[in-house]
């Protein structure tokens, strides 16, 4: 973090950040970088609506301070949806009807990606575990789990 600048990669492009290191990654993504697919549901690391992949790991961006971002590799829903894997998951969510109000869903899609990265052929229980940090008040989860199973099947070879 020389010259007070923080450099990191966001969805494959380099970002240089020069504001306070104390700001939350979530706010910087939404307010400065326009990545509004990342939602704020609780602001305290409980709901997962703000989920992103940080160096490949599922993380709540409301709990990350900008000061820790130097050199990190970051993927948000805005990046994931441009990839084949992302398209496959999104399509599977639509097919399973796994969206209701939709507010938790971008975070769920990130969680689904994380599940499939870890195991391309997950069991129902693997999926339940993998998305358990993401709360959904609408769906009761079953159709989301179905969506991940469908993505795993239809996206054979993608992960």
């Amino acid at each position: 973090m020389k010259d007070g600048k923080i450099r990191f990669t966001l969805n494959g492009r380099e970002v240089v950040y020069e504001d306070s290191p104390l700001r939350r990654l979530l706010d910087v993504l939404r307010e400065d970088l326009g990545e509004t697919g990342v939602k704020e549901g609780c602001g305290e690391g409980e709901c997962g609506a703000c989920s992103i992949l940080l160096d490949g790991k599922l993380v709540n961006s409301c709990m990350v301070a900008m000061g820790t971002m130097e050199g990190k590799n970051l993927m948000t829903i805005e990046g994931l949806r441009e990839t084949e894997q992302g398209k496959c998951i999104i399509d599977a969510f639509a097919e399973a009807g796994a969206v209701q109000c939709g507010f938790c869903i971008p975070g769920m899609v990130m969680a689904a990606q994380s599940v499939l990265q870890d195991s391309p052929h997950p069991s129902e229980q693997d999926i339940r575990k993998g998305i358990s940090g993401n709360l959904c008040r609408c769906t009761g989860y079953d159709q989301i789990i179905q969506a991940v199973l469908t993505a795993s099947e239809k996206g054979e070879g993608l992960w």
């Binding site: 939404r30 307010e31 326009g34 509004t36 697919g37 990342v38 939602k39 704020e40 549901g41 609780c42 602001g43 305290e44 409980e46 709901c47 609506a49 829903i77 805005e78 949806r81 992302g86 998951i89 999104i90 399509d91 969510f93 639509a94 097919e95 399973a96 009807g97 796994a98 969206v99 209701q100 109000c101 939709g102 507010f103 938790c104 869903i105 971008p106 899609v109 129902e124 999926i127 339940r128 575990k129 998305i131 358990s132 940090g133 993401n134 709360l135 959904c136 008040r137 609408c138 769906t139 009761g140 989860y141 079953d142 159709q143 989301i144 789990i145």
Partner: protein, 712 residues
């Protein structure tokens, strides 16, 4: 034969929601020129004796009761809830001021420097306090917001001649909505008009609530609904409560202001589900047959009435449940207490009432030494049976078929027998029904829904109404109905997002009325348009509500007649295992069979079923919300547990068709009734597992431990 309309299509909003391109309010206005923050009362009840406000820097404002241009009250059902607390406060968290300005830090600094001196008054924290008028009366002469008394048949004689009388009281707790998108509003001023964007269920309710407060014509107040990230009743009236102060600020400052609650504020000060205490007393004859019920319903309405009157009405009209009991008397009251107001929540008084009645039926069977399922059978309603309001069940009642189906699916019969001898395992069943639409003559006399259908010169058809998409799938189901009636590709039909300036008032998105009542108007309008179709021309159809002619007329004074035009019906079975050491309950199976007329989209309805049942299981078991010293002890999402994907197994459901003549392609309401049955079925299952009677939700391990220690 399943209906073709039920065949699943891809939801209109599915891809945008999954890909994160759907823009909710705070995405549309990620940065705002001005922010608002509420200053809430810090005591439960008292008089405001004096306030001291700090000097504020240029560009910052503190707004309060003195700034209200019109009348300082929000028009909901009655007008008791002030925009800003003025002389008195009635709950911890009541809005006294709104601070607005450009920098959040400065706003917080101003917030810290505001001082309010109160003369405290002992608060009513329980129904008993309220009944005893502790601290003096707060509402009317007896703290009762609303009272409804109904009776059917003769109740006193059977009690006099009864062989046995059994009675018990049932309790349900508060519940927090936890819609994932917190309350969000953005408002500005344009050409003499107030414009509000809101995550809300009822744009026209917000407008109505502001007319007197702003002293402006309704046409000068425009409410634009934004994609709504969940609501469940929590965005029915509560947005009015935030819109009031915000409107006053915009009126004064004439600049755009954003007001988004953070989760903590939202949980602490927003409205909750009504807690209930329901006493049921039953007269039985020598054979153990039910002669009469005498029922007393008390709801904790919190500090202001909001829609307590209507919640109470549904509780009163539903508590008899699916049983034809000849003699029944029901008294209902909603009380004022010093808690955040209770308000709408999926089910709207029915879950409380049904929990009580179903638990009571189990209790009667238990005391009589009878099988709870067999005990219920003679009373199950049939077509033509009278209701508790002396109306009539008009539809064919499919409960026998549904019972058969759920028994097959769940293996209830064998498991029920087995678990009699296996400790800590249990299975429970519940029956329930839910009226579609507003009670009594509400649709005809109060709501008077109207929709438009507009066709452009490309032959695309647009649906205009005020019912919002909040996750339940209406933007898809409305389009399906219109596209079928018009025989037009689904892609050529569009749902217009509600905006009071461009859509007619088709009523609020509540009461399971959207598809059954408003969807029917969409169908009728589409049929008209089809008849009159002129390809390549712009056309508009206006469709108004017409009351069904089959009903027993409703009399609002005597509360007699058809409380609802039709009911949706359900049976739930829940299977549990209780840990003998920790008394944690592990849910092993969830089954539901539903009759909701005709599902307009099977997958959407299944989503409602699963979501509703899991939400209700949260209510039954996980969602503890304790009130002490004026606040809820579970103040954040880390303390208040809503179900995660690990808490419940997958839900098995089935849908039985039974077309309703006056619903869109036969549809009746679905969104609320899916909440009604899980709590009593869960309670019944736990009762069997620990061999005791569960009379309260949420069922907490602590309570189970105590109950089993008592060895009941």
């Amino acid at each position: 034969m399943p209906h073709s309309i039920s065949t699943t299509v891809r939801r209109k909003d599915a891809v945008a929601k999954a890909a994160g391109t759907m823009e909710y309010l705070s995405d549309q206005f990620p940065v705002s020129p001005l922010h608002g923050k509420c200053y809430y009362s810090s005591i439960q009840r008292g008089l405001i004796e004096s306030v001291s406000l700090p000097e504020v820097p240029e560009g910052y404002h503190i707004l309060g009761a003195d700034d209200v241009p019109g009348v300082n009250s929000l028009h909901m059902i009655i007008e008791d809830w002030p925009v800003f607390a003025d002389k008195e406060v009635r709950y911890l968290g009541q809005i006294i001021f709104l601070i607005v300005g450009p920098e959040k830090d400065v706003i917080l600094d101003i917030h810290r420097k505001i001082r309010v001196n109160y003369k405290e008054i002992p608060p009513c924290t329980t129904l008993e306090d309220s009944i005893a008028l502790k601290g003096g009366v707060q509402h009317g002469e007896d703290n009762v917001f609303t009272r409804y008394d109904i009776h059917h048949g003769q109740v006193d004689p059977p009690f006099e001649s009864a062989h046995r009388i059994l009675e018990k009281e049932y309790y349900t707790g508060h519940q927090e909505h936890v819609y994932m998108e917190p309350q969000s509003l953005f408002a500005h001023w344009e050409d003499d008009s107030f414009i509000l964007h809101a995550s809300a269920q009822c744009p026209f309710y917000i407008r109505k609530s502001l007319v007197n407060a702003l002293g402006m014509e309704p046409e000068k107040i425009r409410i634009i609904q934004t994609p709504t990230g969940g609501a469940f009743g929590g965005k029915e009236h509560f947005p009015d409560v935030l819109a009031g102060p915000l409107a006053v600020a915009v009126y004064k400052v004439k600049k755009p202001i954003k007001l988004v609650l953070d989760r903590k504020e939202d949980m602490a000060y927003s409205i909750k589900r009504h807690p209930s205490a329901i006493h049921i007393k039953t007269a039985l004859d020598k054979e153990g047959k039910i002669l009469a019920h005498d029922i007393d319903i008390r709801l904790d309405g919190g500090a202001y009435s909001s829609c307590s009157a209507v919640v109470l009405a549904r509780a009163v009209f539903t508590v008899g449940n699916v049983y034809n009991i000849k003699n029944i008397r029901i008294a209902g009251r909603a009380f004022c207490t010093n808690k955040p107001p209770s308000d709408a929540f999926r089910g709207f008084g029915a879950p409380q009432a049904i929990f009580a009645m179903e638990s009571h039926m189990n209790y009667l069977a238990y005391e009589l030494g009878q099988d709870p399922l067999a005990f219920r059978q003679p009373y199950l309603m049939k077509q033509g049976d009278p209701t508790t309001t002396d109306g009539k069940i008009h539809e064919k009642v499919m409960l026998p078929e549904m019972t058969k189906r759920i028994l097959e699916m769940s293996g209830y019969g064998k498991k029920y027998q087995d678990y009699k001898n296996i400790p800590y395992k249990g299975i429970g069943l519940s029956y329930f029904f839910h009226g579609s639409g507003f009670t009594g003559n509400g649709e005809r006399d109060l709501i008077k829904a109207r929709i438009y259908l507009k066709k452009d010169h490309n032959d695309h058809v647009y649906i205009y109404g005020s019912n919002v998409e909040m996750g339940q799938g209406i933007s898809t189901t409305f389009c399906k109905v219109a596209s079928k009636a018009l025989d037009l590709p689904f892609e050529q039909v569009h749902f217009v997002e509600p905006d009071t300036e461009i859509v007619p008032d088709s009523g609020p998105t509540v009461a399971s009325r959207s598809i059954s009542v408003v969807g029917f108007l969409v169908q009728k309008a589409a049929e008209k348009l089809k008849k009159d179709w002129k390809s390549g021309e712009e056309q508009t159809i206006i469709q108004d509500y017409e009351a069904p002619t089959h009903m027993v007329p409703w009399d609002q004074n005597t509360l007699k007649g058809d409380a609802y035009p039709a009911y949706s019906w359900g049976v739930n079975v829940i299977e549990v295992e209780v840990d003998p050491i920790t008394f944690e309950v592990n849910t092993k199976g969830i089954w539901g069979v539903y009759e909701m007329g005709v599902p307009i989209d099977r997958q959407i309805v299944e989503g409602q079923i699963i979501g509703g049942m899991v939400q209700a299981l949260g209510y039954s078991y996980l969602e503890k919300l304790e009130f002490s010293d004026g606040r809820f002890r579970q103040a954040t999402m880390s303390d208040y547990m809503i179900p995660t994907s690990m808490d419940f197994p997958s839900t098995k459901s089935a849908i039985v068709d039974n077309p309703f003549e006056y619903g869109a392609y036969g549809a009746k309401g679905a969104g609320e009734m899916v909440f009604d049955g899980a709590a009593p079925a869960f309670g019944a299952a736990v009762s069997q597992a620990v061999d005791t009677i569960i009379d309260e939700v949420p069922v907490l391990p602590e309570t189970l431990m105590e109950l089993t220690d008592e060895g009941r």
